[in-house]
Symmetry: C2
Subunit: 445 residues, 2 copies
């Protein structure tokens, strides 16, 4: 993902001003989610890999510079942009981990212009991936033992989003994706059957099923609801018998009352001695409907999950920010109404007593969630594998209290601030108020 112009204009304005003024001291920015979306008990950290790819390859092309020259940037600035690379450090919570509001997902420490220029893309990527991974996790909680397959591509917000959704779904344990490019790119299992149009393109449903089974005898899943669902199941049974098929068989229900239809389909299949034929359900399912079906004990073996997950329909974004917390060795924050920030480089300490957000150089009990992932502009260690991310998610999920896992009225996990962080915040707030010429009495403190 190259492209130094993948940014907001104000980042370029600020970087230009910093470069012109020699303001190149190290700055630390912290990227975190201020509050959990409604009904969410936790978030799943995701999106770090594309951020690291972006930072590793950050540079302005000659075409970028030519465009900027025509849009208000002078030669002094353009020369500085030409030389600029990302040479900083990144600490982050690895992808797949379950996190809470206010916990830094990523902290960048780099010369101020570099750290500023990364803002827009880092926010964009972490927000997208974390939003969809957190949504996909809710389907995992809902589906019980049933398999889940990502069907979202057709209605995600573009191609990037489709790739992010397939990847995020894999992190939280989806078995497969319909998205072929994502399967190739990330080494996922691709899955897919037929559309209603396939059935309609033949004179009869029976002919369509026969053709498909002849062409894909090892992986025939029949879409049975084009005309009448149970008639469709009977046609599938007839096809399976006629061709003596035995492996990789399924029927897919894509409309109607999935509870009733899945039970009737199961009964028809079982009566035909086809207990091995799996029942696949799809059709605009949100996680609440999946949970309802699962709790009702329906004989659905796998769900295809599309739009509701793909756009995180009930909460299509998280309240993510990228905030300056230190510059040139000085802790900073802002005091804006309802949007105040906390200063300093941070660490999250996780123990059985909960999470504590402290300063990075503190020595508190617990596992340290943020780890160095980039030093002097280069990755620390190899590219992270999706399998590793999935293992982290599974482990964190197993440790999660029941209240945080509820799909409605979840009890959000929160994190305390360490005494040292609280104290630095108070001092920095006083300092900021003094600099701003405000009364020292800090009513928010």
């Amino acid at each position: 993902m190259p492209g130094a112009l993948l940014t907001d204009l104000y980042e370029l304005n600020m970087a230009a001003s910093y470069l012109r003024r020699g303001m190149r001291a190290d700055a630390t920015f912290s990227l975190y989610v201020r509050t959990l979306p409604p009904e969410r008990g936790f978030l799943v950290a995701a999106g770090l890999e594309p951020c690291l790819e972006f930072l590793e390859s950050f540079s302005f092309t000659e075409e970028d510079l030519a465009w900027l020259e025509g849009h208000g940037f002078d030669r002094v600035v353009l020369e500085a942009f030409r030389e600029l690379r990302f040479t900083g450090q990144v600490w982050a919570i690895p992808e797949g981990r379950i996190v809470r509001a206010d916990e830094p997902l990523l902290e960048v420490t780099a010369p101020l212009p570099q750290a500023q220029l990364a803002e827009t893309l880092l926010l964009n990527q972490i927000t997208l991936h974390t939003t969809v991974a957190s949504k996909a996790a809710r389907y995992r909680l809902a589906a019980g033992d049933a398999d889940l397959v990502d069907f979202a591509f057709r209605r995600t917000h573009g191609v990037d989003a489709a790739m992010a959704v397939a990847r995020a779904a894999a992190i939280v344990g989806f078995a497969a994706t319909s998205n072929v490019e994502a399967a190739r790119r990330y080494g996922l299992t691709a899955a897919g059957t037929m559309a209603h149009s396939y059935v309609e393109a033949f004179d009869t449903e029976a002919e369509a099923f026969l053709a498909f089974a002849e062409d894909f005898p090892q992986r025939a899943t029949f879409l049975v609801d084009t005309y009448d669902t149970l008639e469709g199941v009977r046609a599938a049974i007839e096809t399976i018998r006629r061709l003596h098929l035995s492996d990789g068989l399924g029927v897919r229900l894509d409309s109607g009352d999935l509870d009733r239809l899945s039970r009737e389909a199961r009964r028809l299949l079982d009566e035909a001695g086809l207990g091995q034929v799996r029942i696949f359900a799809s059709g605009g399912l949100d996680e609440l409907r999946v949970e309802e079906l699962s709790r009702a004990g329906v004989p659905i073996d796998a769900y295809g999950i599309g739009t509701q997950m793909g756009v995180s329909a009930d909460a299509p974004f998280v309240d993510s920010v990228y905030k300056l917390t230190e510059y040139g060795g000085r802790a900073v924050l802002k005091l804006s109404a309802d949007k105040a920030t906390t200063p300093g480089r941070k660490q999250v300490f996780r123990s059985h007593e909960g999470d504590v957000i402290g300063l990075r150089n503190e020595d508190l009990a617990g596992e340290r969630l943020l780890v160095p992932v980039m030093e002097r502009g280069a990755r620390v260690g190899p590219t992270d594998a999706i399998g590793n991310m999935r293992e982290r998610f599974e482990a964190d999920l197993a440790a999660l209290p029941e209240g945080a896992k509820r799909l409605v009225r979840a009890e959000p996990l929160d994190a305390r601030h360490s005494a040292a962080l609280a104290s630095l915040a108070a001092e920095t707030r006083e300092d900021a108020r003094t600099r701003a010429g405000l009364p020292a009495n800090d009513v928010d403190g």
Copy 2:
């Protein structure tokens, strides 16, 4: 946007089966939105250009074919894929036009395998662009005479989505975007000021404002709410006076009570003889808040609009589908519960009596909204310009009844079916029921 693997696996399965069986007769697929999202009175058609780019360049690369060979596609199919290009016809409603539920936004007529393979990406792009253009249009309705600027990049669902949002916002009349790459790519006006981090990187707000104004004397907008908004306004006034600035000046309010703060900021500026300094507001604004401020007569000259528009937060998708309506000269449809479709190639006829969806070869009164945009795989005419799309939007908006323009409880515009379409639908439904072995008595008819 190349990439024949940017698709769902089932499209490849179906295309493979069709190719193997010589099912290459022309098929027509219709892409439309079944129902309007809640509170919407209309949609803005958008996303056609990326679809045409995709179709024009459609082909499988050798790498694509190698991957498919390892994933269940045999040599006969791979040879057919290697030769496959899009050679069909596309009719569409031009971007920027205001449309209604059920109206075909795009119809593809092509040999069946080609038309099927295009499904996923066409749906993905039309859905994204139409969703965000329709959301952005609501801000236009809300903002009165104030300018609007797209600030959404940091929280859109990836980079594609950021580009689509900037473009969609421009179509409905936004004045500028913060997204630099989008400004370059689409020839839009880029706009941007400074972040809170800029103010914090200096010892005092006054120093930050002075530095910024020195560096950008022709386009200094001061972000005034880092510490205290009205103190920030006073610091901006002081800076403007000290440097004798006169052009392109503004203050930006990004938090707090925008109604009260904008009035007080205006008063301070006016008392300082700085009537030309514009007031800019931002900060998580949805269109209802913008409408509320606008109706209250606040002195806000421009709004920066971010996440709520960028993800279309209240309705992050439209209920779009791509349905086979004709194959080999035979009209087709599906009967699925609640998801029935209508057959045949269509046209939308718009007159002062409303919209009528009819068959393409009918001769009804009114303007014909669908026009040919691709013939034999090549575009008809040049690339459409965003200026043209904006003109179409403005003209259609001017003709819209007030009820459809309301932001809450809008009266959705709908479209009637012509007698010929209704008759074809009834015949085709009977035909489908007969083929499916269902009773001829059509209870849905």
